[in-house]
Symmetry: C2
DNA sequence: GTGATTGCAAATTTTTTGCAAGATA
DNA sequence: TATCTTGCAAAAAATTTGCAATCAC
């Protein structure tokens, strides 16, 4: 196990407890994978776990776990254009670079830009809706060289 | 047929021709649906066509058509978090309001904001990637009242 | 021990594919 | 007519469900 994960592990367990959820092996394994991958789909998590030779977690459980952890804010659903669900380990607010050919995400930090956008949007009201977050993706393609 | 669609129809046919594509009934029907719907998934298009009692188009063809029209820039793939593909009739650059409960999109126009964002991002370079577009979604939930 | 969680297998949902038949220019 | 497109049906891919078995607390 990655040593960096040790501190995160504690934090993770306490977040589970706070929501009355048990710290099962499967949840720990999925979180370790997500922590290492940063952004992933259910099968990327499964593959990661298998490649690690660790205790495999059923696909169905991986979906289940990713879903429940998203609902308590530990992960966040990402937006893709290839009809697969991706999740992201939430850290501080950030933008994403989305590689539309390989469907990979990378974090991009630019607090000033985010602040600029949010302050502008705070002034706007959208009838019938309440804005939860602003999601910004730089849609990219890889360059050859 | 909506009269507004008449002008659009011509424009659409010429875009098809420009790419050496034939103006088939199916493409016309799908485009009419997309033009009316603004943002839609394949089955929303199918439903729309059926509800109109018009000539139905096979699901497979709808997917095919939405895909090819996206590749020539007539539509654009949208980003959703529910593992379905949505498409959007591209008009001028705009943001999207995304209703995460009902998976519906609405256009939001704010040229000044877009310009602000793009001018800032133009200065940044991302190693190994070339930015095609910036996609901004206001992730919302409907308010009850 | 008890209730929450998981595994398993089957069902659903969404999208893609291959190829013969049909339509467009 | 020659080529591009579509329909159809089957396959693939992604996710969800139900329930009995298991595990965490």
């Amino acid at each position: 196990m990655d040593s960096e994960f040790l501190a995160e592990k504690e934090r993770f367990v306490s977040r589970l407890k706070k929501h009355g959820m048990k710290a099962t092996h499967q949840r720990m394994a999925v979180h370790e994978a997500m922590f290492a991958l940063g952004h992933a789909s259910a099968d990327m998590v499964c593959e990661y776990l298998i490649s690690r030779g660790g205790p495999a977690v059923t696909t169905a459980s991986v979906y289940n776990i990713l879903g429940e952890l998203s609902s308590i804010g530990v992960y966040r659903r990402r937006f893709s254009s290839n009809n697969k669900m991706y999740f992201d380990v939430t850290t501080s607010p950030h933008l994403h670079l989305y590689d539309k050919e390989n469907h990979m995400f990378k974090d991009v930090f630019d607090d000033e830009l985010l602040e600029m956008i949010e302050s502008r949007l705070r002034r706007r009201r959208f009838r019938g809706y309440s804005v939860d977050s602003v999601d910004i993706q730089l849609v990219c393609h890889p360059t050859r060289n």
